[in-house]
């Protein structure tokens, strides 16, 4: 549906660097192998999107669809036979926003790790990808609040009634009796029914 993902304020997560093996290793044949890992921290994903065990639906995409791979149960992934050059890795996981990662595969020194998040240009010393934030696909229903009742047309009408019933007589009471009489007389001369005469307080005075 024409759902506009409503992004929550960015909650950047600290990148936990793990002492794992190389990111890029020279593979057999003509290309290299890019190894990496996707980590979805525990605290995230409690909103019902990422049901536990659903990492089977996470896809890792190289260069906009040139290669697609999936995660192993431990979160590791690898692309085989990648030529030297600069590549882009994206992670497609429902419920999470991952920054695309720029990975440089150097032909000269194959062990070198060159990875950077393209969203915030943060360099990565290991290819460990973590979501930047959760995605919200649905409109959120407003919870019940007293202000929403007050601000509704019905609430405003009730408010206005209260003002008229309780505050207007007060205004009339504070008036100088002489001035009031003069005003009433003027009104009577004009023949316009005055507001004060309609009110119980005004009628008495």
């Amino acid at each position: 549906m024409a759902s506009i993902p409503r992004f929550e304020p960015v909650t950047l997560l600290l990148f936990v660097l793990l002492s794992t093996a190389l990111t890029i290793s020279s593979g057999s044949g003509d290309g290299f192998t890019i190894n990496g890992r996707v980590r979805i921290p525990q605290g995230l994903g409690t909103k019902g999107f990422a049901l536990p065990g659903k990492i089977s639906n996470v896809k890792v995409i190289l260069n906009g669809g040139q290669n697609v791979t999936f995660l192993r149960p431990d979160g590791y992934f690898s692309f085989h036979n990648v030529p030297a050059g600069t590549h882009l890795i994206e992670v497609a996981a429902i419920g999470y926003f991952f920054s695309p990662v720029r990975v440089d595969v150097s032909a000269r020194n194959p062990g070198k790790v060159q990875a950077a998040l393209t969203e915030n240009r943060r360099g990565l010393s290991e290819l460990v990808l973590e979501p930047l934030r959760e995605e919200q696909y649905y409109e959120i229903r407003e919870p019940f609040s007293i202000m929403s009742v007050v601000k509704s047309p019905m609430g405003l009408m009730v408010g206005f009634m209260l003002v008229v019933v309780f505050l207007m007589p007060k205004l009339v009471e504070n008036m100088d009796p002489e001035e009031m009489r003069r005003a009433q007389e003027e009104m009577r001369n004009q023949g316009v029914p005055s507001l004060a005469s309609l009110l119980p307080g005004g009628g008495r005075s």
Partner: protein, 870 residues
């Protein structure tokens, strides 16, 4: 969630659907399934493996031509899990190992993956390399157990690998590169730990290797030469006998190896058939002792009786599909055979050793709109009386998948919808007084039951099944799934053309199939062998007679894959799905131009351009030609030649000067051409405006309270070119040697109105053109991020018109006609933004009057789906 997972083709449909809605920001979570719908498809099944153990749910694992691997529920046909692989990651083979892993071999045999059967989690992945390109074969040795591990034998790229099915470790590998060998089959005789590799070397040498499957040791190598050469595939008949065809396809070779000796037996096919009609083809099958041959339309089943003697079992000219063998008990095999007879299909299950002893014979009524049976997969189960029952999974011509059991279709899946090539919309019928299209409740009992369910629902007593029933009832009775036109025109029929050549009409309210129609022309083999559907156009949209006339669509197809193959037109009623008429054309169809004119019956005039740039007018009526003659000088079109980097513009010249008088055929003349320098630019994308788009306002108020007039021309073409080096994959070029150029070209005069270069950028370009703006998406190599740019084009010649006094005094030129011939004074504005995601598709919403603000709909690669206001 529902939205995010909608698949590619359905994104497309949803785009169209929601293009008609006013901007609703989004859905609430509890509205999912009520307002929207989503369906998942897998595509035409290539291979199926059953997993029907006594415990657990019965399922079938399938691989498809759309590179999908999926696990389906055998009871209902629902998808348990599904993975869509990359487009170049073609699946070569699937199998099940150690009862819990699905093994797939893909990418030309270079990637072997194992998936957990219950949840589809990938367990391991191995990359298999080899010295040269070759056929890829996958074989799971189920009876060879090494520490509870099944060995997976993979032959790929000229190398034989044995892979452990637990962790994907390569146990051993053996190269076959030295002997220019073309491996045909890898065979494992049952009950042994030997593997045979069979193939041809130098096209006339037959080679056979015997390998120990435990350690990869080469035990024996035999070879024999046959002077006639070989053609195509070999088929294994028994553990010692193979059959092949010689290079002419007219002699059948029986190859038997006996005690290390290979001997050939030749049998001319004419001896078997009587009169040989043409080259024969061996249909691959794995039934012991029997193989089948196809000579023209005749299928012949042949049994091999020891020592190369052949016996013809059956000859039939019915359309036949055969399954692989299924071992049912000790050394016993059975296979399924499906034959077409009229509107029925006959399913027979035969044991491999007794041709006439049918285990099962059933006739099933089959919808003609499904076409022929293309593939059969057989599975068995044990009935309560301990006898064998059989179920078969069949793949039809329209790519649908059906499960047959006990003479009935248990379930069917319309997987043709996974490969949609064109979509158009059609209005629903107008609600007529007195006739209600919506069905009333069948009877009182049904009605009472429905109300009881609803009562249960409100009293919180309903079980989940009841809740589902209530939900479906609500959906049925709800306004959005009615079969009539609504006031605002939101409800529509989506007419969809699939790659299999089938038309579907889907209801926008709930996505159900209203009717489907396999293009009838497919069944006239003499007229058209391989019909390929190309496009859909709205042929007739009745407004004046909307009550008693049905709209129709034009389906344009082509006979065969080549561009100059003759075309086929078919006219289909959109309410009933009946084909009104069809035409086999004498000319080819390179381009179809719906003209903005209709005749008195409201049929739209269409101009078909053939490969020789002749224009043909349809419908072929005198009235149409009358209308056409009036507008003769106002018709222009263009063609894009991507390979040569040329865009050409054409206009009509005169009637065709051919020997056959054809007053509906016109010659064209070339007006202009834009030639891009081939060493620096290559066309990668072209986009135009939609023909039926309506624009409501001509002016736009820009940020500084100023008014600008949109340059609205139907003849604008957006072209993106890239450096030839940079037209490949991302990362293959440096930013210095790549650039992207965007052009706006007027297609009447060939004038380039705007040109902008993005240095350090490359494709793929996805673009959408609407009103006076174009939005395109490309990759910026310098920032290494995706970018989106927008170009807006404004008419400068009318800039003075914004003076209020001139408007009041009538001194404006707002009513003066705009001509495409005149040189327009335009200015362009453009902006660029970074965009995070890779794109699959991009589209823009459109409404009937063009008043509602436009929203960009973007389908990203992760199958997510975003909208933007413009």
């Amino acid at each position: 969630m529902a939205i995010a997972m909608a698949i590619r083709s359905f994104l497309f449909l949803l785009l169209l659907f929601f293009s008609s809605l006013n901007p609703i920001l989004s859905l609430y979570e509890d509205q999912v399934g009520l307002m929207d719908w989503h369906q998942q498809f897998i595509g035409k099944v290539k291979q199926a493996v059953f997993h029907t153990q006594k415990t657990g749910r019965k399922r079938v694992v399938v691989s498809t031509e759309e590179n999908v691997i999926a696990s389906l529920d055998l009871r209902h046909g629902e998808i348990f899990w599904r993975h869509v692989l990359a487009t170049n990651d073609v699946i070569d083979g699937i199998d099940i190992a150690i009862g819990k892993y699905v093994i797939t071999l893909s990418s030309g045999g270079s990637i072997l993956r194992a998936w957990n059967l219950p949840d589809g989690q990938m367990v391991w992945e191995s990359s298999l390399q080899g010295p040269k390109h070759s056929k890829s074969l996958l074989l799971v040795l189920t009876n060879l157990k090494v520490d509870k591990d099944n060995v997976v034998i993979v032959f790929t790229n000229g190398r034989l690998h044995a892979v452990s099915s637990i962790d994907g470790e390569v146990l051993w590998k053996k190269d076959f590169e030295a002997e220019s060998l073309d491996v045909q089959q890898v065979i494992q005789p049952p009950g042994s730990d030997l593997v045979y590799v069979v193939g041809f070397a130098a096209s006339s040498q037959f080679e056979m290797y015997q390998i120990n499957a435990r350690n990869g040791e080469l035990l024996k190598h035999e070879s024999a030469a046959f002077s006639g050469g070989f053609l195509g595939e070999v088929s294994l008949v028994s553990s010692e006998t193979l059959v092949a065809l010689d290079s002419t396809g007219s002699i059948l070779l029986t190859i038997s190896s006996h005690n290390g000796k290979i001997s050939f037996q030749q049998t001319p096919i004419s001896n078997l058939v009587g009169d040989s009609l043409g080259p024969a083809v061996i249909t691959p099958s794995s039934v012991t002792g029997i193989f089948s041959l196809k000579v023209n339309a005749i299928t012949i089943f042949i049994r091999v009786i020891g020592e190369g003697k052949l016996e013809v079992l059956e000859k039939t000219n019915l359309k036949t599909a055969v399954s692989d063998a299924l071992s049912i008990s000790e050394g016993k095999q059975a296979f399924a055979l499906i034959q077409h007879a009229g509107s029925e299909i006959h399913l027979t299950v035969k044991p491999a050793d007794d041709w006439d002893g049918n285990l099962l014979k059933e006739s099933i009524k089959m919808d003609r709109q499904r076409g022929l049976v293309h593939k059969v997969f057989i599975n068995n189960y044990i009935r309560t009386d301990r006898s064998y029952g059989f179920r078969v999974l069949i793949v039809m011509e329209d790519h649908s998948l059906l499960l047959l059991q006990q003479g009935e279709i248990v379930w069917s899946r319309e997987d043709g919808l996974a490969s949609i090539i064109d979509v158009t919309t059609s209005e629903l019928p107008v609600e007529k007084d007195g006739v209600s299209v919506a069905k009333v409740e069948h009877n009182l009992f049904e009605w009472l039951k429905g109300h009881m369910l609803k009562l249960k629902g409100t009293l919180m007593l309903a079980s989940p099944e009841d809740m589902a029933a209530i939900q479906s009832m609500r959906l049925k009775s709800s306004e959005k799934s009615k079969m009539t036109r609504d006031h605002n025109g939101f409800r529509k029929l989506l007419i969809v053309l699939t790659r299999a050549g089938k038309l579907f009409a889907l209801h926008t309210g709930d996505g159900r199939i209203v009717w489907s129609h396999l293009l009838q022309s497919l069944h006239k083999p003499q007229a058209c062998q391989h019909l390929i559907g190309l496009n859909l156009y709205q042929w007739q949209v009745p407004h004046h007679h909307a009550m008693d006339e049905n709209p129709s669509v034009l389906v344009v197809g082509r006979c065969g894959p080549s561009l100059d193959a003759p075309g086929v037109l078919s006219f289909v009623d959109t309410y009933t799905g009946k084909e009104l008429s069809s035409l086999s054309l004498a000319h080819s169809v390179a381009q179809v131009i719906p003209l903005p004119y209709t005749d008195s019956t409201e049929q739209r005039l269409h101009l078909l351009i053939d490969a020789d740039q002749h224009a043909h007018l349809y419908p072929k009526t005198p009235e149409a030609i009358g209308i056409f003659q009036r507008e003769f000088s106002n018709i222009y079109w263009y063609s894009v030649e991507d390979d040569n980097g040329i865009i050409k513009g054409y206009a009509l010249k005169s009637k065709c000067t051919s020997e056959v008088a054809d007053e509906f055929c016109f010659d064209s003349r070339e007006l202009w051409s834009v030639v891009f320098p081939s060493e620096s630019e290559k066309i990668i994308a072209t986009v135009t405006r939609k023909l039926n788009e309506v624009v409501h306002t001509q002016a736009k108020v820009i940020a500084d309270q100023d008014v600008m007039y949109k340059y609205l021309s139907r003849n604008l073409l957006f072209v993106a070119t890239a450096a030839p080096k940079a037209s490949g994959e991302i990362g293959s070029v440096t930013p210095e040697e790549s650039w992207l150029v965007a052009y706006l070209i007027d297609t009447v005069t060939g004038r380039i109105l705007h040109r902008v270069t993005h240095h350090g950028s490359q494709g793929p370009v996805h673009a959408v053109f609407s009103e006076n703006w174009v939005v395109y998406h490309y990759f910026n190599l310098r920032a290494h991020r995706y970018e989106m740019s927008v170009i807006e084009i404004y008419d400068q010649s009318r800039a003075d018109d914004k003076d209020v006094w001139k408007l009041v005094l009538g001194k404006h030129n707002l009513t003066s006609p705009i001509s495409s011939y005149s040189r327009p004074e335009v200015i362009t504005k453009s902006q660029s933004y970074f965009f995070t995601h890779s794109l699959k598709s991009i589209a823009v919403t459109s409404t009937a009057k063009g008043i509602t603000s436009k929203q960009l709909l973007i389908g990203t690669i992760g199958a997510c789906f975003t909208g933007f206001g413009t």
